[in-house]
Symmetry: D2
Subunit: 344 residues, 4 copies
Amino acid sequence: MYRFTCDYEEGCLPEILSLLNDTNLVQTPGYGTDVYCEHARGLIREFCSCPEADVHFLVGGTQANLTVIASVLRPWQGVLSAQTGHVAVHETGAVEATGHKVLALESPDGKVSAEALKKALDAHFGDPHSEHTVQPGMLYISFPTENGQLYSLRELTELSRICRGAGIPLYLDGARLAYGLTADACDVTAADIARLCDVFYLGGTKCGALFGEAVVITSPALKKDFRYMIKQRGGMLAKGRLLGIQFQGLMEEDRYLSLGRRANSLALRVKKAFTQAGVPFMIDSPTNQQFPILTAEQLDRLAPSFAWDPWETLPDGRQAVRFCTSWATREEAVTALENALAGL
Amino acid sequence: MYRFTCDYEEGCLPEILSLLNDTNLVQTPGYGTDVYCEHARGLIREFCSCPEADVHFLVGGTQANLTVIASVLRPWQGVLSAQTGHVAVHETGAVEATGHKVLALESPDGKVSAEALKKALDAHFGDPHSEHTVQPGMLYISFPTENGQLYSLRELTELSRICRGAGIPLYLDGARLAYGLTADACDVTAADIARLCDVFYLGGTKCGALFGEAVVITSPALKKDFRYMIKQRGGMLAKGRLLGIQFQGLMEEDRYLSLGRRANSLALRVKKAFTQAGVPFMIDSPTNQQFPILTAEQLDRLAPSFAWDPWETLPDGRQAVRFCTSWATREEAVTALENALAGL
Amino acid sequence: MYRFTCDYEEGCLPEILSLLNDTNLVQTPGYGTDVYCEHARGLIREFCSCPEADVHFLVGGTQANLTVIASVLRPWQGVLSAQTGHVAVHETGAVEATGHKVLALESPDGKVSAEALKKALDAHFGDPHSEHTVQPGMLYISFPTENGQLYSLRELTELSRICRGAGIPLYLDGARLAYGLTADACDVTAADIARLCDVFYLGGTKCGALFGEAVVITSPALKKDFRYMIKQRGGMLAKGRLLGIQFQGLMEEDRYLSLGRRANSLALRVKKAFTQAGVPFMIDSPTNQQFPILTAEQLDRLAPSFAWDPWETLPDGRQAVRFCTSWATREEAVTALENALAGL
Amino acid sequence: MYRFTCDYEEGCLPEILSLLNDTNLVQTPGYGTDVYCEHARGLIREFCSCPEADVHFLVGGTQANLTVIASVLRPWQGVLSAQTGHVAVHETGAVEATGHKVLALESPDGKVSAEALKKALDAHFGDPHSEHTVQPGMLYISFPTENGQLYSLRELTELSRICRGAGIPLYLDGARLAYGLTADACDVTAADIARLCDVFYLGGTKCGALFGEAVVITSPALKKDFRYMIKQRGGMLAKGRLLGIQFQGLMEEDRYLSLGRRANSLALRVKKAFTQAGVPFMIDSPTNQQFPILTAEQLDRLAPSFAWDPWETLPDGRQAVRFCTSWATREEAVTALENALAGL
């Protein structure tokens, strides 16, 4: 059985395990004040060419999202997001549990368009009775999006311009940033993201770490007291060093981008194999998640040897499913899938 | 430099690292639905002789506390706690951030007495205008307490009896449970805790794991939908297996209790050494945390070779400090401290 | 200038003012424990043929909604509502501020259909990973809806049946209940609402009182401790008698329904006058709110003498607007509008 | 039966009822945007010599407190209050329900001392691990306090100085401000309060209105978007005019202070009568609340003709009780009490 279900089915990069082994008995102070965290912060600042950024390590994506969003918003503000955004759908109301509405924007492709953003801002701030509705207080986007899409540099620049014009921070969820930055179609760099966003996170859990996300705050206005917020929301790991050590492992020797490149190239082989088998896609994804549309018969034929994630049942009964590669996907698995698809 | 600052300054038991290494490339489903978690749940149910218990793995102590407490209480209820309880003091208002007041009970020794509990319940439920004040909705205790104290079986039984009489759950924070259960003075077993409490957690972070706490729900009324709550509060690890693997490592071959016993015996050597040096204690602790009271001169003399945690400055200028042993404390460190104290 | 902007532009029924005058110097205990409140509770129980109901008086609609909803839901639950529901749109995120998501259901006419409700419940409870999404915990409907629509007895019965089958309470917002119950097209009685819903409120603010809404809890499961919730959310009026006195004034001598009938009949005159002038409607409303679609020229011609509420700008530039009658609308105003429309 | 239980047992000043009668059928826009509110805002600005203040009308005291406090604090901040402060004790955790801890300061007399305030601020901001505890974000005081005490101008000035030094707003709860400002012992003016505090409220409910409190924001930093907060927390009255009309009634012709003077003078007669009867007091109150300590026999003798509020049972079994005068207390009631006490 070859599993393509998601990008968090294995442990972590072997280099990270080695570092954990090597440092295991070193004594350090807790809560992220250790030398490993400090070193990893430096690597991340360098990675995104932003020496002034504050870098904080959190445990997981939902936690990073709720902690960042609740630290930014005033009580009467909400966060704008594509209606398919992770915070809008798949976090069990984590943002609402902090008291804030997710203001869902219609989005055919999972991205927030400049038009949709402008329309929402105009509708609110142009309303003489605006205090009866939730005030848009920040924009959440994911890169790549939940269905593998990328913003172009032009698009990201435009969103940033609108947000800054409206005085609302732009927050980018980079749970799969390694796969996004290294896609062939990507013209955005980590430095662009640091420059155009006010806060973002660089994902570890789905990009080769055991767990952990690095929140990068570039806007000076958002930096103050963020550690209080981490502690209050249960995100301040006693052995914070674990996160520093892991991000050191990810960032050193270009590993973060290398693993992204490798996973993407395997995903493109998967994509090509489906295409050659005449299988259509729900959406054209340039990153490590692929969304072929399969009939029940086709799925039955693949089921004995492969696992995937069900995504959406189409009106005609066919299923859009997700095949995911990762830092850990073995070439052997992809070859097996190619062979199976050739005979589909 | 020998550090006695806390019990979370190193990584984890070597056996846990081995398990992480061995399982690293095995593919499993996410979010705690894997075989490692299932296996570890069984070990924990056995450990506390409670085959019907629900076991959930969370990442850290503050997170476990806020998730459990917010899942139990109705909006107008608060949680009773000793005024020195971790939830009352050292979690940056994590409980309040979920909407609930911590109802602090006076406590000279960090424990909740049956008298204080009864008085608080009577004061509220005997008040004809009770709806103007927060309703006590559960009791939080820690075992050992924040300053190393233990409840006797008689005390725990009495608290449980009062709570059940009042219809409020009893929650036990076992961040340092390994050290509590194995203290010479302890007449309480894990099975007693499971029987007398409605929910408790068995600490990993401070007891030999990299991170992680095992929440054990024994009351059927509190089991429903708890996974929603974990997800919403950011505590559902994508690679949930990491927690299962670690608790497997802790629970197998009696490691959890063994490490507690060892740390306690080293702590008693520390205690004896201070006593022989004529140093008094803030409180008489039978567990791995010791709280000697030292003069500035004494601290100066120890400072070049030892680190500790400052605890409280007394009115006369002396300092109560914490010396902590753990699963990772080396005998060599204790011997060095003994020698230093002999010449104090 | 005749204002048809809303149904809360004047003070209150003269009979209510008289009662306030007559009772002004009588001394009563506070917080709704006085004889006036007790009397009014009896009148309301009788009004909805539900002698076992709990009746609580709150100050306003948003407050009633947030207090009821937050008292019913568990932390991981949300409230289902039509996407146009007041709680979904016009309460500045009041529900989210209590920690809960409003789960918006698509609705072309402002009502929740049995189909949409079933689909949402099936989608959630049929999902093997349901804990990653907000659990539907209750259904909110308004009667009449925000755009004046009514549920038929058959529709309400069906929604009630589905909710009870799923174990989720049905909550009805009756801000304009007087106008709903007395519409010609209405086949639902107050007793039906009490029987089919688990909790609802009978609006005072928009139906002739100075302010105040009467929350009626018919489900025994929802009654406990509700007064705590009122107090906590700032809704427990010190001089609670004011609400009792007002609802006494509204309920006595059939005044509540009489004022509804009168306002509806004036609204139908307005509707007829627009229709005869060839003006189309955004929606066919049988109650006191009418939504004609007017051109800029038509609006200009009416503007010197009449005021209304802007509602929605159509793609072609025309405006849907709201003309509202109330218990206080003078016949003279309606006649003037009829005359103006005759010459439009 | 003469009731001295509290200061909210009757309706309102007759002049307010007259104004409500006179304006009943005037049409105005809703939500506090009407001419009555605007007029009343002007009167209040004049009353406290602060032409730049923002004035908002809310319905009740708990609501005013929770709305102000939650609008000021950041998520990780709490509000400092005397341990006997209304927000700390008698609001069913309303502040905690907004996510914030009430940081209770020890207070023998119900006031916050400069020493206690400084100690709390130093303890937090001097702690190298401050992010593990709730950050003090504002100071709440009441004037008069819950037990009738006043701050001197010197005391208030000193608290203000410390708060401004620490960058935290000072909030004054003036639920009984009319009685405080007019006490013989008071050397503080409304203008002083406006100048020394950043936000305060001028109580209506307990000072002659049917209901309503006027929140006055003097600090420019706290003004923005406050109307969103009022709406979200359920405090924006549709018929906001009711509050404007009432505060117009209170502020015109010096009524607010006149009613305070009268109630205080009656309270001093009550105080004198108890003193002459040899009855001791729990605390020496210069305002409209008096707290005599009575034996069970004395209470039994008074019970047939007088009502009071039980306050606290002393260790020796005697009861401290509250006798309250108000704008509505009749001279006849005080004379009757004097006569009864003369024969006690």
